[in-house]
């Protein structure tokens, strides 16, 4: 049996006893199954994105259990004790059969309760004139306090060899007034109707922007959306459910800083300066805790770079990282709980509606995009051409920052550019960014190891030797990353030298003014 279609049908239709089916077929309804479910997913809905549902179920027949359903699998196991609504589930408490399916999809992110509802499910068999089942229907109704009443989700499952019959049945159901085809698990359709299918703050900053809209309005909207992402990740960052909350918050700040930086001549200078200052403050506040998170996460890898003989002696350095992590997160919590951040987030909300932000009313978003992309590519290219094997590390870091600006600008303007060419440019840019990132990580870590060694109180000589080895290894990694740069730069440079970049702009959906 495989799921063929999922439809959302208005609840007025009599689907449980007499759903409409094509002539010559009849329906036999099974018993209704009632349960209460709490769905769990990562903040970015990684499970539902793969059409996999994870839920804690209370059911009269089967009792309490944790169920994974989707991708052709249904697994039920004893649930983790006491999931706190809104809290994270301990990954270690998951039954192995559940963990095996869920953890690879969750990619290290915490599993949080997403929604709760009463669920009434009924299976129906559609039979032909021989009373052979030719397709199966499952009707699902969700009820939750505060949720609008509404629809029945009908899943049409085809049986092998009877796909045509299932298609016909789905077609008949789709013809019910008000019915629509939906994708994914039934709960996704329900969440969609509630407006909570996507993670809060997950709207791409440039979604739906058009070339002819005023640049000031578009840039304001971009910044506003990015600050909404910051706000959406606040609770998870404070609770430290997983390290991705802080990462996503920080990336949103960086993107917003880029938008503000490039908005010279678009936004009022006063607004622009204020945003730049506040975003820098917030970005700076996130740097130490993010660095510490990365050190802790990459600790097994760092430790493995020390020879086996000295590895046990590197332990004091790990303790130092743990202590600094605590301090860094305590300071971050202060910043995130401050009035200063509240005001910044208010500004973000105002920006989405503001119409007095513009400086030059005549500038269109298309013109802004064309200019900003050209300038950012030029800056990356210029720094790349200047880079020599003996250039100081600062030159590489500068190149890395400019590449980020280009990447973010490309993200903001995705809606305006042809998808395939856009993806090609992003791929070439990403290859360069990966090498730059590897170089940056190694050199920042190397500096941190030295700093850490100095901070240790009376470190044993073996610990210092171990840290020396680690620094040596990180230096080798940095050199290796640097060696990759010429090739990666050449991949990006052809966009400029061969005129590909201009083709990209000229082929833009809204033909960007060049």
């Amino acid at each position: 049996v495989s799921a063929l279609h999922t439809l959302a049908v208005p609840s007025g239709a009599d689907l449980d006893s007499a759903p409409p089916v094509p002539a010559g077929l009849r329906v036999v309804a099974g018993a209704q199954h009632l349960s209460r479910r709490v769905w769990l997913d990562t903040f970015d809905r990684a499970l539902l994105a793969k059409h996999v549902e994870l839920y804690l179920e209370e059911d009269e027949e089967a009792g309490a259990g944790l169920v994974v359903r989707g991708a052709g699998i249904t697994t039920r196991a004893g649930g983790p004790a006491g999931i706190d609504p809104g809290g994270a589930v301990s990954v270690g408490s998951l039954a192995p059969a559940v963990a095996e399916v869920v953890l690879p999809l969750a990619r290290g992110r915490a599993l949080l309760s997403l929604a709760a509802a009463g669920v009434a499910e009924r299976q129906l068999a559609v039979l032909d004139d021989e009373d052979k089942t030719v397709c199966r229907l499952t009707t699902t109704r969700f009820t939750a306090a505060g949720a609008p009443p509404g629809m029945v989700i009908v899943t049409v499952d085809s049986l092998r060899g009877y796909e045509a019959a299932a298609e016909e049945v789905a077609g008949t159901l789709a013809a019910v007034p008000g019915a629509r085809v939906v994708s994914g698990a039934p709960v996704q359709a329900w969440l969609e109707a509630l407006g909570s299918a996507a993670a809060p703050g997950s709207l791409p900053a440039g979604r739906g922007l058009t070339s002819d809209m005023p640049a000031a309005a578009a840039v304001s909207l971009i910044i506003s959306r990015l600050l909404a992402t910051v706000e959406a990740n606040l609770a998870g960052t404070l609770a430290r459910y997983d390290t991705e909350f802080l990462h996503d918050l920080r990336v949103a700040v960086r993107r917003a800083r880029t938008a503000v930086k490039l908005s010279d001549g678009v936004l009022h200078d006063g607004l622009r300066d204020r945003l730049a200052e506040e975003l820098k403050w917030l970005g700076d506040a996130t740097t130490p805790p993010r660095d510490m998170d990365v050190y802790l996460e990459s600790w097994p890898d760092m430790e493995s770079q020390v020879s086996e003989e000295l590895r046990p002696h590197v332990e004091p350095f790990l303790r130092l990282i743990e202590e600094r992590t605590k301090v860094a997160h305590r300071e971050l919590r202060e910043a995130l709980g401050s009035r200063r951040l509240t005001r910044l987030l208010e500004t973000g909300r105002e920006l989405s509606e503001a119409n007095d932000t513009r400086r030059h009313t005549e500038a269109s978003f298309g013109a802004f995009v064309a200019r900003s992309l050209r300038d950012t590519l030029e800056r990356v290219s210029k720094r790349g051409r200047r880079l020599r094997p003996d250039s100081p590390d600062e030159a590489v870091h500068d190149l890395r920052k400019r590449a980020k600006e280009l990447r973010y600008m490309l993200e903001f303007s995705e809606a305006l550019l042809p998808a395939e060419r856009w993806a090609e440019l992003v791929r070439d840019l990403k290859a360069l960014q990966d090498a730059l990132g590897a170089f940056n990580d190694s050199s920042v870590q190397r500096a941190f190891v030295l700093d850490g060694a100095e901070a240790l109180t009376d470190p044993p000589v073996h610990t210092l030797l171990a840290l020396g080895e680690l620094r040596g290894s990180l230096a080798r990694q940095a050199r290796q990353a640097r060696r990759q740069l010429p090739d990666r730069l050449a991949g990006l440079e052809r966009w400029r030298s061969e005129g590909l970049f201009w083709d990209l702009l000229a082929a833009g959906k809204d033909r960007l003014p060049l």
């Binding site: 049996v1 068999a125 021989e130 009373d131 052979k132 089942t133 049986l159 092998r160 060899g161 009877y162």
Partner: protein, 259 residues
């Protein structure tokens, strides 16, 4: 994949009853099972309520250019699929004869489904023919129903000779008494005299029971509508023997069978 063929030189001995019930029990135990109805009469197809029609007919079942998977129909029972009969299965012999390596064609056709199924049950038309040779060459176990009548052991001997003559890999044989009616003296005498439980003759006897006859009306395997009947119990025992002869675990596939 393990191939189990329900086969008899003689007709009307309970061959389809065996194929349907054994396939159902294999699926019930967790084996991904396919029942291939090769008999043009299509009784197994009828019992699973599937229409006796294969797109392209028997030719599609024999020719390589038609994937066998396209003919598969999912039954109403989890884990059990069916390749239905088609009236043109009457010409299977002729069609097989026209292929290269005609005596191995069935095995070759089944190879394409090896990843999908763990057990394939063949329900064959009664005869000794090119199709029979194909069935024998494809099978790991040949299940032979015998009516408890004086001539039935002779039929089994004929089959043994046929297997010897066919050469190559010899499938295991599990013969059993079918449609046994102990009220009939002739049946009683044969059952008492026969070497049941020895060699390739199973100790299992499937009785001539009304429930078995009801399969035609209920259009379902015995275990579905008469799970506590003597006949259903006999088929469970028979399946255990067949599974053992095929080298399958008596407790069903292990937890790693999907890997």
């Amino acid at each position: 994949v393990k191939v189990v063929a329900a086969y008899s030189i003689k007709g009307g001995v309970g061959k389809t009853t065996a194929a349907v019930n054994l396939a159902y029990l294999a699926a019930l135990q967790g084996y991904r099972t396919l029942l291939w109805d090769l008999d043009p009469q299509g009784a197994a197809t009828y019992l699973f309520r599937v229409k006796p029609k294969v797109k392209g007919g028997a030719e599609a079942l024999v020719r390589r250019r038609h994937p066998l998977a396209d003919a598969v129909k999912e039954t109403d029972f989890p884990g059990l699929d069916l390749v239905p009969a088609d009236p043109s299965n009457r010409s299977l012999d002729l069609l097989l004869d026209a292929t290269k390596q005609p005596e191995r064609r069935l095995r070759q056709r089944l190879q394409s489904l090896e990843d999908e199924y763990e057990v394939v049950v063949l329900d064959c038309a009664p005869s000794i023919s090119l199709l029979s040779e194909n069935v024998v060459r494809a099978a790991d176990v040949v299940v032979v129903p015998l009516i408890p009548a004086p001539l039935s052991l002779r039929t089994l001997d004929q089959l043994r000779s046929f297997l010897d003559e066919t050469g190559g890999r010899r499938p295991a044989v599990v013969a059993y008494f079918s449609m046994a009616d102990r009220r009939r003296r002739s049946h009683r005498e044969v059952l008492e005299a026969a070497p049941s439980g020895q060699g390739d003759i199973s100790a299992v006897t499937v009785p001539a029971a009304s429930q078995v006859e009801q399969m035609g009306g209920r259009r379902a395997p015995l275990a579905v509508f008469a799970p506590r009947s003597e006949a259903a119990a006999a088929f469970r025992l028979l399946w255990a023997e067949v599974a053992a002869a095929a080298g399958l675990s008596a407790t069903g596939p292990g937890p790693d069978h999907d890997e």
